[in-house]
Symmetry: C2
Subunit: 243 residues, 2 copies
């Protein structure tokens, strides 16, 4: 039990939730370390949605709403932290939800699919094939899922797979707290915000974006702006940390 | 197997070692997340011992060498990464080595003590009592150990305990990669460097500091300087990340 008077209660509770999921095999051990890296960058962001991240979230909504075949790719960390939020986003934007894992076993895929279903998502599953030009289990996906998508939302993605998907001509929306990661640098659009803050904002935008707002957002996608704004916010916070 | 010529070989091997220790119960799941946080800040530091961290390591050696009753407090992550280095430091400075855990079970204390002993350390164990003014298992320590210490080296410490120890009048030397953490801000002296780089540097300084150097280092302890130097280094690296 984390004492509720602990100043970092929320962060520690999230960490406990991930640890519990790691013990159940849903989150990979490496997923815990990756989460910690994200925590550090979120700390530098002030653990809040910045103005530029908010714009990225609205832009992501516009991309999902106007896609022909949008897919949300889910991994262990995502389901541990935001299964319900993913289900809500699916309802708002109509994307397929597909489970794709870096540390892939059939059992983990099934566990994660079940959590998504319990949270109210409709999961696109079935036969996976090695369709992506990657070594390792990251090559697996489904022909009518990620492989055929035009827009893919990948919370917490691996850099190599992000790069491969972009090279295949897909528009990739990443949610990644590290503006220096290869994923953040490669994606079409990077939302530099914490997962459980970001997903509900995308969902909200899906329900309230007007058609002309959508068009305007799509015409001005600029990932370099989002990266440099996040870096600017972090730099500012760091440099004033001792004031 | 990670190829030794991989550019991030050391970081990846360390991560694997921690995951292995987590599976054995030596490292808490939460310890993996904490490690990830450290990784992010170390990345911003350039994964090297900075000039100011080197000075902090020599200052720590001076504090340990001149202490009446120095104690090195060890947790799961520390023993997973640096059991041998802690044993060497103990030999060089004569401090007690005591195991204190945030996620405390008798079994984990014993596992960690055994690893330290195997690495050549003399472990101060025996009856622990709830002696520190803290909720949670962090209150536990030993009357003739941490409770009686005048100087305590705490690699990877919890912020509340660091604060409580300082409030008890103890000089606390923290090793913490996050210059914004409460531990880093509360400690008497914070070494902002990665554990396996920092501990051998303290040990080396213990064996080569002259008495007048010791005096000079002790007279100029300035934690604010170390925090601001680390922040300056990180800020500089971040702000040039997109160049």
């Amino acid at each position: 039990m984390i004492p509720p008077d602990h100043p970092r209660y929320k962060s520690l509770v999230t960490r406990e939730r991930l640890a519990e999921c790691a013990r159940e095999g849903i989150v990979a051990m490496e997923g815990l370390t990756a989460h910690g890296r994200g925590e550090a960058f979120d700390y530098l962001l002030g653990e809040r949605t910045t103005t530029s991240a908010h714009l990225a979230e609205r832009t992501a909504a516009a991309m999902l709403l106007t896609a022909e075949h949008p897919v949300i790719s889910v991994n262990g960390n995502t389901v541990a932290l935001a299964a319900k939020e993913i289900a809500d986003l699916q309802k708002a934007c109509g994307a397929l939800v597909e489970v794709n894992l870096f540390h892939r076993t059939e059992k983990r895929v099934e566990q994660i699919e079940n959590i998504l279903k319990d949270a109210g998502a409709t999961v696109f599953s079935g036969e996976a094939e090695r369709l992506l030009p990657l070594s390792h289990d990251r090559a697996w996906c489904r022909r009518e899922g990620m492989f055929s998508a035009d827009v893919i939302l990948v919370p917490l993605e691996d850099g190599d797979r992000c790069e491969a998907l972009v090279a295949m001509g897909k528009k990739v929306i990443a949610i990644d707290l590290n503006p220096l990661s290869r994923t953040a640098q490669q994606a079409t659009l990077t939302i530099i915000d914490e997962l459980t803050r970001a997903v509900p904002e995308i969902t909200k935008a899906c329900t309230n974006l007007a058609e002309d707002e959508c068009r305007e957002l799509l015409a001005t996608v600029n990932n370099h702006y989002h990266l440099s704004e996040a870096i600017r916010e972090m730099t500012e916070r760091l440099s004033h940390a001792l004031d």
